[in-house]
């Protein structure tokens, strides 16, 4: 740990310091994050993240929209887990309405969530390769992601921000081809997964770049509020799907992936194994989609009783919390999102200071940051 004096010394600017602004436009920040880093040669001695370049005041905008409409704004937070964000919001509203959604809707939601998680991890894997200087993984990752996107396109009419969840279930029923296409995807993906390991996991350069780099102790992971694969890479069990099962996750069999090394490679392994777990979940459900309604009948204008409602889900990056305060009208009185990326970013200084610039890039890649989710 760095003590207080050192922090003061580091945060004050000296004339001989080499300050480098990584971002807001930089290939490895994956968006408009700006990191002000202080260098000694190649070694990073201080990092100061500057946020707010893509702040759109989504929380405030939600307060001006009805309970039906605000859900779709949240697709634009963590756009790679758009469906899971929507699910969290829909769940918060359902809690307020005290609505139990039909079984079929639950299963559809889980299926779509896990497909979203897979797509998100595939994109993360692709971008990780690019960040570490390997170009080919980008195409391998996108090849498989494309199939999922097509499946979404068919059912939801949209590829990235699907806006499929509504309070009370899903917006439409599944496309007749859904099961067939998901089976085809699973077959292809299971065949392709060894290729992922050949290209990156087993590569000696990749292992040297990530093993022992960016150590995050379990205590720090908890104190920074890290969640998702970032925390699980440090051995902190925090999978909301296990701890607070929602929408029927209690009925499927899957393991929470935990690694104890706490370095970049551990975070990498967690995500790689999570992909396998997601495949397992989809396999259990795809042939057992219950018949019935895909949506509960709700009123055209939803009004929540006075009170506070909180729902939490496990997105591809960690725990997303939706805190909703209702004053009894048709619009939320106050919305607050607990976004996983913001907390994960806060650990960056802890893990990247003392490393090289290359380590900083590796750390950023393994935190898997989505910048619009940090700023909202």
């Amino acid at each position: 740990m760095i003590n207080k004096e050192e922090i003061e010394n580091l945060t004050q600017a000296h004339e001989e310091d080499f300050i480098l602004n990584v971002g807001p436009q930089h290939p490895s920040t994956h968006g408009v994050l700006r990191l002000k880093i202080k260098l000694q040669g190649e070694t990073v001695v201080h990092i100061e993240p500057h946020l707010g370049y893509i702040h759109r005041s989504i929380e405030k905008m939600c307060e001006a929209s009805s309970y039906r409409n605000f859900i779709y704004l949240t697709s634009r937070m963590d756009y790679l887990s758009a469906h899971i964000n929507n699910q969290a919001c829909a769940m918060a509203v359902e809690k307020g309405l005290q609505l139990e959604i039909p079984k079929r809707a639950k299963v559809i939601r889980i299926l779509m969530s896990e497909l979203t998680r897979l797509a998100s991890h595939q994109l993360w894997w692709a971008a990780t390769g690019l960040d570490l200087g390997a170009t080919t993984p980008f195409f391998v990752g996108f090849r498989d992601r494309e199939v999922i996107m097509d499946i979404f396109d068919e059912t939801c009419g949209s590829r990235l921000t699907m806006d499929y969840n509504v309070p009370g279930g899903t917006m439409f029923d599944l496309h007749p081809n859904f099961q067939k296409n998901v089976h085809a995807f699973l077959k292809g993906f299971k065949k392709n997964l060894p290729e992922y390991h050949q290209l990156l996991s087993g590569n000696i350069i990749f292992q040297n770049r990530t093993k022992g780099v960016g150590y995050l102790s379990p205590e720090d992971a908890v104190s920074f509020g890290c969640s998702g694969p970032t925390a699980r890479g440090s051995g902190v069990s925090c999978d909301i799907r296990k701890w607070h099962p929602y929408d029927g996750y209690e009925e499927v069999q899957f393991n929470e992936v935990l690694e104890t090394a706490g370095d970049c490679y551990a975070r990498y392994c967690v995500r790689m194994k999570e992909m396998e777990e997601s495949v397992k979940i989809i396999e259990q459900l795809i042939d057992n989609i219950p018949e019935g309604d895909f949506q509960d009948k709700t009123k055209a204008v939803l009004k929540l009783p006075k009170g506070e409602f909180y729902s939490r889900v496990e997105t591809a990056r960690g725990e997303l919390g939706v805190y909703l305060v209702s004053d009894g009208t048709s619009k939320p009185y106050r919305m607050k999102f607990r976004s996983p990326n913001f907390s994960n970013l806060s650990a960056l200084r802890q893990i990247a200071v003392g490393g090289k610039i290359g380590d900083l890039v590796a750390n950023m890649a393994m935190l898997d940051l989505v910048i619009p989710d940090i700023d909202r």
């Binding site: 480098l20 390997a134 590569n203 770049r209 610039i357």
Partner: protein, 359 residues
């Protein structure tokens, strides 16, 4: 012997001598050679850009360029025209003179390195008797151009890239040089034409036992590092330094760095092919007369370019499959592994040469 270019060159020489005095002859020959080098440069640039994109596409299950010209072969021409039309932007804070000088230094260095290469039998610009020495001397000048580019841009990313490149090229020069010395020890000559001639009975990679193979592997690794190509593209490292030393360069000056990189790649692979894989010498095995004779029917320049392009393909293969190293790992690889191994290898080579164990 078939396909001897010295007949053609001596004919041109005598024709020129018959029409003008010796001073003019030398001058005209220099002009001809210069034109040939520039043509080779352009052709190599076009071929390599196309080849790189096609190889990358092959590795990444894409099609690659396929719109401009037949099978996309004119894509590189279109790109060059685009680069020519672009504004040659000089940042206000940059050192104008050095900023504009740097690409020319880098480009002329790669031109100089073409001089002693034997492209085919009798096709060599200058058969200097210290060819290998000349090559290693000339190739280390390019780092000056890169350092100038990084410094003159007045950009922190450029400066970091240039410093990385300096550390990297200076380090890897050592093991590249040491692995070349292994072949010099086997041959007993620094002249590249002598080295090719000495492989008449077999290439050094076969004749030189294990030390030659080790030297070859080290040469390829060090050569890739000297080229600043992935997985050793520290100087550019687009995900870390957004482009390294050429961040601020645009238009044709950027294209010059680009072209120089590709020609350097050709030079390194040509040296590798000449020293270890026999240059233009066809595949010969000791005293298999019939086999050797059949091999002689393939023209020498086909052999030379075939081997060179094979090595180029290997280096492209590296680039499109490996992640990048970190700067400290890069230097560790050189100083802790490659350098001691090449030193030990040198001793083994000397021992093998003294005991005459090689074929």
């Amino acid at each position: 012997m078939f396909y001897d270019f010295s007949i053609l060159t001596s004919k041109i020489h005598s024709w020129l001598l018959a029409h003008c005095d010796s001073g003019w002859t030398t001058l005209l020959e220099m002009v001809i050679v210069g034109l040939c080098v520039i043509t080779l440069f352009v052709v190599l640039g076009l071929i390599f850009v196309y080849m790189e994109r096609k190889v990358a596409a092959f590795m990444q299950f894409r099609l690659g360029p396929n719109r401009v010209g037949p099978k996309g072969t004119l894509q590189a021409v279109a790109d060059t025209v685009k680069l020519l039309m672009k504004e040659g932007f000089t940042p206000q804070a940059a050192d104008m003179f050095l900023f504009n000088l740097a690409p020319f230094i880098v480009l002329s260095v790669s031109m100089l390195a073409l001089a002693p290469l034997p492209f085919a039998k009798g096709l060599q610009i200058y058969d200097i008797n210290i060819g290998v020495f000349y090559l290693s001397a000339v190739s280390s000048i390019s780092v000056i151009g890169i350092l100038i580019a990084g410094w003159a841009s007045n950009n922190k990313y450029s400066l970091l890239g240039a410093m990385r490149s300096g550390a990297q090229i200076v380090s890897y020069e050592l093991s590249a040089g040491l692995s070349v010395i292994a072949i010099v020890a086997f041959t007993g000559s620094m002249s590249l034409s002598d080295i090719v001639e000495s492989q008449r009975t077999g290439w050094w990679i076969f004749k030189g036992h294990i030390p030659a193979v080790i030297a070859f592997v080290i040469f390829i690794i060090a050569g890739t590092a000297e080229l600043n190509r992935a997985p050793f593209d520290m100087a550019e490292a687009e995900s870390e330094l957004t482009g390294g030393f050429h961040t601020e360069y645009t238009g044709m000056r950027f294209a010059m760095f680009f072209l120089a990189e590709y020609v350097n790649m050709f030079v390194v692979c040509a040296i590798g092919a000449t020293l270890f894989l026999g240059g233009w010498m066809p595949l010969h095995f000791g005293n298999l007369e019939g086999f050797n004779h059949i091999m002689d029917y393939v023209p020498p320049f086909v052999w030379f370019f075939g081997k060179t392009f094979f090595l180029v393909w290997v280096i492209m293969w590296f680039r499109w499959t490996f992640p990048r190293l970190r700067i400290d790992q890069l230097l560790t690889l050189e100083w802790k592994y490659l350098m001691p191994i090449s030193l030990v290898n040198m001793i083994i080579v000397a021992f093998v040469v003294i005991m005459k164990w090689h074929f």
